[in-house]
């Protein structure tokens, strides 16, 4: 498996190729009067797994198509390893691509599909056959080479598409919703497999998805896009724990949003008046005193306080009433309303050790200041 993708034209014995670095500078794409991408600047590091995440119509696929060369930017520049490729046709960019519907050639067998790029590059037939069978082995489809795409299941087609995209050893692999058409279980297996491939190949991966779980699981960094722009870019844990605006907080994971008014600053911590009590929050901004803001807390970071819970000074507290209790398998989902009328959701793990709350019950909830984000 280690030498599975060794390419004869490349010198040296190291199978791992250095991934390409990609830099997008103020990329704009408009069709007629509609702006699909409105100024995207992004530096993707060599060997990185970067995900463009966003709702449909946010410009993520258009951005990917511009990197691949299928769309040309209206304004801006695309550089791979520092050299501009904006004017280069797609067939000279040497980029691997996995399409949403796999785009396997229906008139060619799996092996012929995979060997297509090698044929274009004039790789001799015997060498081509060897590389194709190695690529098939890499995606665990060794015995399926002679089958046509219509004779393969969705998951197998997806693997063939991946093998086809990496057999010519590109230094950059683009994937447009590559797992979108598969069922949940298979998707989860393939997410792990794509990560393994990324580690094994060492090349740069750019993934486009609208599935936040997929983005969180697979990526080194995520660029969340909205309305043609990058809303926030960062490591999955940073995006989840420190969303910098309401869109990101709402799009990745679930969030409670509570209106608040800034009433003071204590170093990095902002003190706000929220639901009639003082709530401390962290933020990267410096809000003015009296500013109307929004406090964000993840439902699973809220906890019911009981007599044994020590009241740390680093925690916020609020009195609430349970208005709804929903069992969702591994957790209970409680809808709570505060004494001043605000509504929020609290997720608590389910299990025999944890006391269930009844609807109408009064409770005190507590959560860490570090988990309270001002957006």
């Amino acid at each position: 498996m280690e030498q599975a993708l060794r390419f004869p034209a490349r010198s040296g014995d190291d199978n791992r190729v250095r991934g390409a670095s990609v830099s997008l500078t103020n990329l704009v794409k408009s069709y007629g009067g509609v702006t699909a991408v409105a100024g995207v600047s992004l530096d993707i590091r060599s060997g990185e797994f970067l995900t463009l995440l966003g709702p449909s119509g946010c410009g993520k696929t258009t951005t990917l198509m511009m990197i691949a060369g299928f769309e040309s930017p209206s304004i801006g520049d695309i550089a791979i390893d520092g050299a501009s490729v904006t004017a280069m046709p797609p067939y000279r960019r040497n980029i691997g691509m996995v399409f949403q519907n796999y785009a396997l050639f229906p008139h060619l067998t799996a092996a012929e599909n995979i060997g297509f790029s090698l044929k274009q590059r004039g790789v001799p037939k015997a060498e081509r056959a060897r590389l194709v069978s190695e690529a098939l082995e890499l995606v665990q489809l060794s015995t399926y080479g002679e089958r046509y795409p219509r004779q393969l299941s969705g998951g197998q087609q997806q693997r063939v598409a991946v093998a086809r995209a990496i057999v010519f050893k590109p230094r950059l692999l683009l994937m447009d919703e590559p797992l979108g058409a598969l069922d949940k279980k298979l998707r989860e297996d393939l997410q792990i497999e794509m990560r393994r491939l990324h580690a094994e190949l060492g090349i740069t991966f750019i993934l486009v998805t609208h599935d936040q779980d997929e983005a969180l699981i697979m990526s080194d960094r995520i660029a969340v896009m909205n309305e043609g722009k990058i809303a926030q870019i960062g490591r999955p844990v940073d995006l989840y724990d420190r969303p910098c605006n309401r869109f990101v907080a709402g799009f990745i994971g679930q969030s409670n949003f509570l209106p608040a008014v800034v009433c003071g600053l204590e170093g990095d911590v902002v003190v706000t008046k929220c639901q009639g009590v003082l709530v401390r929050a962290v933020t990267s901004q410096r809000p003015a005193i009296g500013a109307e803001v929004s406090v964000t807390i993840r439902p699973e970071r809220l906890r019911f306080a009981d007599s044994t819970t020590e009241r740390a000074s680093s925690a916020n507290c609020l009195n609430v009433t349970v208005t709804e209790a929903v069992f969702a398998g591994e957790r209970w989902r409680y809808v709570l309303s505060s004494d001043s009328g605000g509504s929020m959701v609290l997720n608590e793990a389910s299990g025999a050790m944890i006391r269930r709350r009844a609807v109408g019950e009064s409770a005190e909830i507590t959560w860490s200041v570090a988990d309270t984000i001002l957006v």
Binding site: A68, G69, F70, P89, P90, Y91, R92, R93, N94, I95, G96, M97, F99, Q100, N101, A103, L104, F105, P106, H107, F116, S117, Q120, R121, R164, F168
Partner: protein, 300 residues
């Protein structure tokens, strides 16, 4: 004493008239009943005359296979047979060469597609007779083309354009072109646009993409168009009779000639040959994968 049994909700009679049961002999008869007026009409005015005509080849003047046996040694028939086949083949290939680029343009066009389609279909809706006359006007000794060439001083004497084999082929290609363009354009339109993109991304040049991806995937449309054009060309009568060479006699012209001379038996035999040829082509066409599907969706 038995306990009364309640009817379960799934019992027959509970859900009635929800789904039509197509396995029921009565419901299966419905489509046939709906089609019956047309079927009767076709049987009387089409199937019966055709059968009568074909029977003449067997029973005129008395029951025998003599007419068919005579064909093999019939020099006139053999010449006409090969001319018909040759003309149809030439027209079919001419149509492919001219239709493919148009079909490609049509399948790529977005806003101009209705206009291109209009230009293709406008002559399609005009009578074959009118179009054949138009070719006579264009190709005649004092026709538009000769007059123009003479006026430009490119020729001294009018060229013989009309009543040549070439004139037949040009006019037939013109008339049959839409039958080639539409199935090819349809096949091209059905190619997933991400396939050419995938080919480019994998390093294929635009020409390589066309040769290795687009052209092979359009083959069912090309085969369907060839089948349609070839079968239609086999039976052409008016156009070759009007603009063709007097020595280029096609099967349908020979049939008409024999009918005029009241040689019903011989005419029926020739008709049977023509029909068998057309059916054989359709049979071969069915063997090519994707052709029947391409034919079915031609009008979409």
């Amino acid at each position: 004493m038995s306990v009364p049994i309640m009817t379960p909700p799934s019992a027959p009679g509970y859900k009635r008239n929800v789904v039509i049961d197509w396995n029921n002999a009565r419901t299966r008869a419905i489509p046939w009943l709906l089609a019956s007026p047309l079927l009767v009409y076709m049987a009387v005015v089409y199937a019966m005359p055709v059968v009568a005509m074909l029977l003449r080849s067997l029973n005129d003047p008395s029951w025998s296979l003599d007419h068919y046996a005579a064909l093999a040694g019939d020099a006139v028939f053999l010449k006409v047979f090969w001319i018909t086949l040759g003309t149809s083949l030439a027209v079919t290939f001419g149509c492919v060469v001219l239709a493919y680029p148009v079909a490609l343009a049509l399948s790529r066009a977005r806003s101009t597609a209705p206009l291109i389609l209009m230009v293709i279909l406008l002559p399609f809706w005009t009578s074959v007779l009118v179009r054949s006359y138009a070719w006579m006007v264009l190709l005649g000794r004092h026709g538009v083309i000769n007059e123009a060439l003479l006026a430009l001083g490119l020729i001294d004497q009018p060229l013989k354009l009309l009543n040549t084999t070439m004139a037949t082929q040009i006019a037939m290609i013109h008339i049959l072109l839409p039958y080639m363009i539409l199935p090819i354009a349809n096949a091209l339109r059905q190619i997933d646009p991400s396939l050419p993109r995938a080919a480019w991304g994998l390093g294929a040049t635009p020409w390589g993409t066309f040769r290795q991806v687009i052209f092979p995937l359009s083959m069912p449309g090309v085969a369907a168009g060839m089948l349609l054009v070839f079968v239609l060309a086999l039976g052409f009568y008016i156009t070759p009779a009007m603009v063709g060479s007097s020595s280029d006699i096609t099967l349908s012209m020979l049939i008409a000639q024999e009918v005029e001379q009241l040689n019903w038996g011989y005419a029926g035999t020739l008709s049977a040959v023509l029909l068998a040829l057309a059916l054989a082509m359709i049979g071969i066409g069915q063997l090519v994968p994707g052709v029947s599907n391409a034919l079915r969706t031609t009008k979409s």
